[in-house]
Amino acid sequence: MSIEDVKDRIVEVMIRDLELALNPDEVYGTSRLDELFGMDSIAITELIIGIEKEFNIRIPAEDLSVEIFQNLETLTEYVKKLLHDEATMYIEGQDKT
């Protein structure tokens, strides 16, 4: 999955799961996520659950930091890395069998 695909799907999750009355362009054009909605623990939890379901991944609690949720790019890079790590683990697991 390309980085652009990951970003598109995160924007979709944001609008759909947080029920934001924004269009995708407004989300793409933002420099910080806290310009789009109040970044309280409820919104962050909803966003994490939405991303986990969308990409079928688990975001470990110890990974959660302010830096990841700074902007769309940092969040996209984190999810992309997580997808890559999980894919690597899967391939390594396949090799062992």
């Binding site: 009355a21 806290d34 789009l36 109040g38 309280d40 409820i42 919104a43 939890t45 659950i49 986990e52």
Partner: protein
């Protein structure tokens, strides 16, 4: 009285786990010793005296618990402040309550903006920066050398101010005494049969009445074990619930819904005795999903900051808003608009009286007499008592937004919006999202170049994140009636 409790617990079971918070574990013995040390520090170093007001700007942590008992024994007033508050909100409560000392952690200091530098009369105490000697004494030996002294905090002196959202545009302060706290804990503790064998997971923030009274004070005075979560993370919480063999969980519909969303393996929750949901109506579908997922029934718990715990729905009921029979020492009556008491099964406004109810709000005689007529608290909720004495809550008549159990006054948000030069008029309300929970919606009349993003950025610096409207809709006007009152039925369409 409070000193007797911790001292007695330390003597009765010194090695029993009192608190676990991440890697930190304190036994009741160590909790007592820490409380003694902090109390000495408060009294001798900070010169805290009876009646002094101390803000607790802390997450759920051990510092909060022993600092509260220390302050209470001195006779000082603890004022827990929401850790999401921004500078303007913190400044308001500091001034309103006459706070002089702020107990906090270094990672929360930035939220106070310039106040630590500019306000020379305020003393900021960073609990995480203080160093205490390693705990190496047993409480019993300390008690023998330092027997109980008469308590400074009388049973009826105010030791806690809870901050609550008001319906009239200004937040209210609810003063609590040890007598009220003990009474509330007894009323709920008896119903749940809480004892020292229990293990509570404390995820509801201690700056809320429900978190403070039911998740912290209640288990501590019963000698139970508390597992604290500084922040809410549903996946970590699922693991903690199983690993720590939690027996009591007090949460909100949002917490239970998030747990269901994150469950992706089998968990052993066989130790669980009570899962209570409070703060907002518990959707029937969520109740069912939680039971299907974990095999545990979530019980609806009803109460108010002003009254303490009111009821728990112990019987199985699919009906939303069935909150059970009033607890011991709690009376409920339903009145019509003319103030006449209604018979069973008739819908009206819910009034509560209980042994844990406050007499009124701090420095608000008029508001207090309106809210506490004839020894009852006017909840603002609509409901009925059925013929078996079960209370049913069906709605609210106060325009308060209920965000996952946090009550928010829409006029506070509206006033902030109106202070933005691009906004001409605004209306703020709560709307249900697709999960049946309330989110904040702002309907705004603004200059043509104003965007939703402008609104969020403006609010971001002035309001706690949870108060920023999730939905922002621009309209040409907000309809008002001949009296100038907003026509809710039209504007909320």
């Amino acid at each position: 009285m409070l000193k007797d409790v911790l001292g007695a617990l330390a003597v009765a079971h010194p090695l029993k786990q009192a608190i676990r918070c991440g890697d930190l574990m304190l036994t009741y013995d160590e909790l007592f010793i820490m409380k003694e040390r902090v109390k000495k520090y408060f009294a001798e170093e900070l010169r805290i005296q009876k009646g002094d007001k101390m803000a607790f700007h802390l997450p759920n942590c051990a510092d909060f618990i022993y600092s509260f008992f220390s302050a209470a024994e001195i006779g000082a007033v603890t004022i827990p402040l929401n850790t999401n508050f921004k500078e303007s909100e913190l400044r308001y409560y500091t001034s309103k309550c006459g706070i002089k000392t702020i107990i906090t952690h270094s990672d929360l200091l930035a939220q106070w903006g310039q106040m630590p530098l500019m306000e020379k009369t305020l003393n900021f105490v960073l609990m995480d920066q203080l160093e205490w000697p390693t705990v190496d004494l047993k409480a019993e030996s300390l008690l023998k050398s330092n027997p109980f002294s008469p308590d400074v905090a009388a049973i009826d002196s105010e030791i806690l101010y809870l901050c609550t959202s008001g319906s009239s545009g200004r937040p209210k302060i609810i003063p609590k005494t040890p007598a009220l706290l003990f009474s509330g804990a007894e009323n709920l503790g008896t119903a749940l049969d809480v004892g020292s064998q229990d293990r509570f997971l404390c995820v509801t923030p201690f700056f809320h009445a429900n978190g403070f009274e039911n998740s912290m004070f209640l288990p501590i005075i019963n000698g139970a074990s508390l597992v604290l979560m500084r922040e809410f993370s549903p996946r970590s919480m699922l693991d903690v619930l199983a690993q720590e063999e939690i027996t009591v969980l007090i949460g909100s519909p949002f917490i239970f819904s998030s747990l269901c969303d994150c469950a992706d393996k089998a968990y052993d929750f066989s130790a669980m005795r009570h899962c209570l949901s409070a703060g907002a109506p518990l959707p029937a579908e969520l109740k069912k999903t939680f039971y299907d997922t974990f095999g545990i029934k979530v019980r609806e718990h009803y109460g108010a900051s002003e009254t303490g715990p009111v009821s728990v729905q112990f019987q199985d009921a699919d009906e939303v808003g069935a909150v059970g029979k009033p607890l011991n020492n709690v009376r409920v009556k339903i009145l019509d608009e003319e103030g006449r008491q209604l018979p069973p099964d008739m819908m009206g406004e819910v009034f509560i009286s209980s042994t844990s109810m406050v007499k009124g709000y701090l420095d608000e005689p008029e508001l207090s007499s309106e809210a506490f007529p004839s020894g009852y608290f006017r909840t603002g909720d609509f409901g009925m008592l059925d013929s078996e004495g079960n209370l049913h809550i069906v709605g609210r008549n106060k325009a308060i937004i209920n965000l996952a159990g946090i009550k928010i006054d829409p006029s506070e948000i509206r006033n902030t919006l109106l202070s933005y030069p691009k906004v001409k008029d605004a209306y703020v309300t709560g709307v249900k999202n697709r999960k049946g929970m309330e989110v904040i919606k702002a309907i705004i009349v603004a200059h043509p170049d104003c965007t939703a993003k402008d609104i969020v950025i403006f609010c971001r610096d002035r309001l706690a994140a949870f108060k920023i409207p999730r939905l922002i809709e621009f309209r040409d006007s907000i309809p008002v009636d001949v009296m100038g009152k907003v026509i809710r039925s039209v504007v909320e369409k």
